[in-house]
């Protein structure tokens, strides 16, 4: 007979810890699960922010968090995508929008027609055929209703003030009955691959059916268990250091985040409602923290407010679930803040833990499913991030030459080769980013396919021009009718999240 889990102890800090604790308590309180959070001192600074993919709304729906409350509480903004600038020499910036691309014509993807038209001299960029990108450029936002579903479905992500977002989740978690035990550190006692207890500052030893490691890249629990060795990706990533800072709010509010490459890394501008969060990823061998700070001011042209903070970056992963300990967020997979993925990885791991929550405390067979899936997600996300670096066209700058020539994992090499040959994307299992995302960044960085699907020739050249002009006209018409982001925020009707169980 199976023995249901009665208790979970989450050890960690900040977003990963509070989302995990709240998520588990919200999902399983009715079935009698006690959730204790051993909260380690926060590492967040007032300047920190999160960029989030549209998928965050999935977790929020599960947790019954309405979007308007979330945005209000966290000083956040909806965003249509990310604009990449200066990554590819003199090439104009492009927008990686979050909308799905249209099916195309005659069951052949639009990109195939674009490649053909491009070869015949058409100058229109691929992201001009994205409604989401057009909305981003025009600073527009869609109302809650689905827009133009038959053409492409624009989806929005978010930018959130990190501290305020965590406070918002924390308040809900405490209301939901999460037991909160602050401690400056923990001592882990394990027998084989099973944690028997974690001991707090005051000597209290907590036991549980399941432990969750939400301690970030320190992996204070998982790292001490057999099999918890860290697989470093430091040799794949050119940056090893992050800086976060803050500037004044932008007006009018942009509907995208701006990711600009510079000599030694990249700088991200993430608009929030009352300020603009800045993030820089750079190579500490190239730049000191002081020089980075100076550059940040010069390159963004913003007057920085508050203090800038720096932290080392240690990309890599370890087995996500060992014995009775589950890692969420960076304790399991640690990547760059590019492409809005750090919060996504927290959300993905917590969602997986909820849907794969063990059915039997004496047989945690779910560990294999969870670890395999998280590892695959992590590697695929890593490859997506690496694509930006490997495809850069900044010549004669040692940082970027190195980033371009770095090792390419096998799966990514196949993706590059296939896209270069035919504009097709090989999508593997457990991919966060789908073909439309890959197409957007590969083309955006200048990987233009040498050939197209010959089926596109079934459409006569005149008909193809007519269809493409129709799409552009449609997009222009749609965008014109939409409110600006500022108007949208002021006129926002309250939307009720549809809860898991009302």
């Amino acid at each position: 007979m199976s023995r249901p889990l009665k208790s979970v102890v989450v050890v960690g800090r900040d977003a990963a810890a509070w989302i995990a604790a709240y998520g588990l308590r919200f999902a399983f309180a009715r079935t009698g699960l006690e959730v204790t959070l051993v909260e380690l001192p926060s590492l967040l600074s007032p300047v920190d922010a999160f960029a989030a993919l549209p998928t965050l709304s999935g977790l929020h729906r599960l947790l019954n968090i309405p979007e308007d409350q979330l945005l209000k509480a966290s000083g956040g903004l909806p965003t249509m995508g990310q604009r990449y600038a200066n990554w590819s020499g003199g090439k104009a910036p492009f927008i990686h929008a979050y909308d799905t691309q249209p099916v195309g014509v005659n069951n052949v993807d639009l990109v195939q027609y674009w490649v053909k038209a491009r070869g015949e001299g058409m100058g229109v960029e691929f992201d001009d055929f994205s409604l989401g990108a057009a909305m981003a450029k025009a600073g527009r936002m869609a109302p809650d209703v689905d827009l133009a579903a038959e053409f492409s479905r624009p989806a929005h992500g978010y930018q959130l003030d990190a501290g305020r977002y965590v406070d918002f989740i924390r308040a809900r978690a405490l209301r939901a009955g999460v037991v909160h035990c602050p401690s400056s550190q923990v001592r882990v006692t394990a027998l084989g691959d099973r944690i028997t207890s974690v001991t707090l500052d005051d000597g209290t030893a907590l036991q549980a059916d399941l432990f969750v490691d939400a301690s970030g890249s320190d992996a204070l629990l998982l790292g001490q268990l057999p099999g918890g060795d860290f697989e470093s990706w430091a040799d794949l990533y050119p940056c090893d250091r992050l800086m976060a800072a803050s500037g004044p709010a932008l007006s009018p509010l942009p509907a995208f985040a701006h990711i600009a490459a510079f000599r030694s890394g990249w700088i991200g501008l993430y608009p929030l409602r009352e300020r603009t969060a800045l993030v820089a990823a750079f190579d500490s061998k190239d730049l000191s923290d002081t020089d980075m700070l100076q550059r940040l001011t010069v390159l963004t042209g913003l007057k920085l407010e508050g203090e800038a903070v720096c932290a080392p970056m240690t990309p890599g992963m370890r087995r996500g679930w060992i014995g009775n300990c589950v890692g969420v967020g960076e304790a399991a997979v640690c990547v760059e803040p590019l492409d809005a993925v750090p919060l996504h990885l927290i959300q993905t791991s917590v969602s997986h833990l909820i849907t794969q929550f063990p059915v039997d405390a004496d047989d945690l067979a779910e560990a294999r499913l969870y670890s395999a899936s998280l590892a695959a997600h992590g590697r695929n996300i890593r490859d997506f991030q690496l694509a930006h670096y490997r495809l850069n066209q900044r010549r004669d700058e040692p940082f970027w030459d190195g980033a371009r020539d770095g090792p390419v994992p096998e799966g990514l090499a196949h993706k590059f080769a296939l896209f270069r040959a035919r504009g097709e994307t090989a999508i593997y299992d457990d991919e966060t980013f789908q073909a439309s995302n890959w197409t957007s960044i590969l083309l955006g960085h200048g990987l233009v396919p040498g050939d197209y699907d010959p089926r596109v020739e079934m459409l006569s050249p005149e008909e193809q021009i007519r269809q493409m002009q129709g799409m552009l006209g449609f997009i222009a018409g749609e965008v014109k009718g939409l409110p600006t982001l500022d108007e949208h925020l002021n006129a926002r009707p309250s939307s009720i999240g549809s809860a898991l169980f009302g």
């Binding site: 059915v359 039997d360 779910e366 196949h414 079934m458």
Partner: protein, 511 residues
């Protein structure tokens, strides 16, 4: 612009003509010219073929008109496969084209069903599948597109005479410029420098050159096997059946909108109803039964008079490690074989044809297109392989040696883990590409007799009384809507009657 690619298809049959129809139907003549070689002397494997719903996508993509195609191929509709005696003798379950129930509160229906079962409310899972209930009552009509309607929750496929389908596609292809050459290939010549196929020589002496060769020569694998020696990976140790007797018999009144598969002492017997007769066959392992004995078993288990002597087919489960090798693409049986237990033969042809269109080469074949084609085709084969092995492995039959052997054999790790996770917590595999969907896995894992120990704990959040109420309501809705459907026979008479159809009233004079 390059000059058109000269495509030579060696072999007609379903795979050859499906390839020809797709190439001529979706590519302009300046892209490729299609020449198909086939011999009337060489028999076509096909005594009634069952398909999957995906086939409709192929038909739509190339512009086939459904009622016309069905009338010309004596086609009937298919909502499911019925499995008899598989998990244990006396068992019966369906693998329907549709889901069981609908998710409640975001949680898969079967978790709720498991919970109700553990709480003592033993509902029949199949009562919650629209396609199963319609199958049991031998009803058919098209699913509606309104996703809120209960009769939108299923899909359908066809039973038809595959040789007539090939003939139908031949007309289609020839109208669009495909050139057919009658005769047998007696020799294949490789280019001495590149090792590519340079030409094939006909029995007439004619030498046919080409840029891209499609090997649709069936089990003989004239190009991919004999000429290019692309290795064949055998899966015989997991799928021991290597023979089949096939025979058509008179139509019976049992006009099922589903394929029937009955497990026997050394394999299984198929039954495929067409408008004018019923196709039958016994797939067996020569290691577990004599050929003659298998023949007798088949002939003793027909529900109509046999229309001819049974024919024997020989095969081996497995696939080429590279279906596309050099300038030769194997499609159909030349690329691999999986027994028709889940009606995947035509699906595999379709998947390869669609991948060929997507990665269709220019004069110089880019190896990355070949690699991606092979990756996709391999994935299709491997997924189906695991699903087929599941039927054999998960059984409690003790009456015949093959069932003991299959129960005790070690299965691929990829499958063992899927079974274990279902047993543990009702977890269903979900993956990006390839057959089969989680709903299919559920029907077979459950149907073969495996009951999970646990279920997703989120399901406990629903009030139990509410759950019971919702399940009763869903059951009632399906029951009432299926009652209003026309019979399979009436539907076909109205929609796509074949001139050869034998009226149901005259069927059933079983000798």
């Amino acid at each position: 612009m390059d000059k058109p690619l000269r495509v030579v298809i060696v072999g007609g049959g379903t795979s050859g003509w499906m390839t020809a129809a797709a190439l001529t139907g979706t590519l302009k003549p300046n892209i490729c010219r299609v020449r198909l070689i086939e011999s009337d002397e060489i028999g076509i494997v096909g005594v009634g073929e069952a398909t999957l719903p995906q086939m409709r996508e192929y038909n739509e993509a190339i512009g086939i008109i459904e009622p016309e195609m069905m009338a010309r191929t004596n086609g009937t509709f298919k909502l499911a496969i019925q499995f008899r005696d598989w998990g244990f003798k006396g068992s019966e379950y369906y693998h329907p084209f549709g889901k069981h129930g609908q998710p409640l509160g975001g949680i898969g229906f079967h978790h709720h069903w498991l919970r109700a079962r553990q709480a003592g409310r033993a509902y029949d899972l199949e009562d919650f599948s629209y396609a199963v209930v319609a199958s049991r009552r031998q009803k058919f009509e098209f699913p509606v597109s309104d996703l809120k309607a209960i009769n939108s929750t299923y899909s359908y496929a066809y039973h038809f005479d595959a040789s007539l389908y090939a003939k139908y596609l031949r007309g289609f292809s020839e109208q669009r410029g495909a050139v057919r050459t009658e005769g047998r290939v007696v020799d294949v010549t490789l280019d001495p420098l590149s090792g590519d196929v340079a030409s094939v020589t006909m029995d007439s002496g004619e030498v046919i050159t080409g840029d891209l060769f499609i090997d649709c020569s069936g089990f003989r694998a004239l190009l991919i096997g004999k000429a290019l020696n692309s290795p064949f990976e055998s899966w015989n140790k997991w799928l021991p059946c290597d023979r089949a007797w096939a025979v058509p018999c008179d139509r019976s009144p049992d006009f099922t909108p589903y394929t029937r598969s009955t497990a026997r002492e050394a394999g299984w017997q198929w039954r495929i109803p067409l408008q004018h007769r019923t196709g039958n066959g016994y797939v067996f392992s020569s290691g577990f039964i004599e050929e003659d004995k298998a023949r007798e078993t088949l002939m003793a288990n027909l529900d109509g008079a046999a229309q001819q002597d049974p024919r024997l087919l020989r095969f081996e489960a497995g696939r080429r490690t590279a279906s596309w090798t050099r300038n030769c693409v194997a499609i159909g049986l030349a690329s691999g074989f999986l027994e028709p237990l889940e009606s995947t033969s035509i699906y595999l042809v379709q998947a390869a044809v669609m991948a060929l269109l997507r990665f269709f080469p220019r004069q110089k074949i880019d190896p990355v297109l070949v690699a991606e084609f092979n990756r996709r085709v391999d994935n299709e084969y491997d997924r189906i392989r695991d699903f087929l092995i599941l039927h054999y492995h998960l059984n409690t039959r003790d009456d015949a040696e093959i069932w003991r052997y299959c129960r005790n054999m070690s299965v691929p790790d990829s499958l063992a883990e899927k079974i274990e996770m279902f047993r543990h917590r009702g977890h269903l595999p979900a993956y990006k590409d390839g057959l089969f969907s989680p709903a299919s896995w559920l029907s077979v894992l459950h149907g073969q007799g495996l009951v999970p120990r646990g279920y997703e704990r989120l399901a406990d959040n629903l009030e139990f009384d509410d759950l019971v109420h919702r399940m009763d309501e869903l059951h009632g809705k399906i029951d009432a809507r299926v009652d209003a459907m026309p019979s399979h026979d009436a539907f076909i008479r109205d929609y796509c009657p074949s001139p050869e159809a034998v009226p149901l009233e005259r069927a059933g004079a079983v000798a």
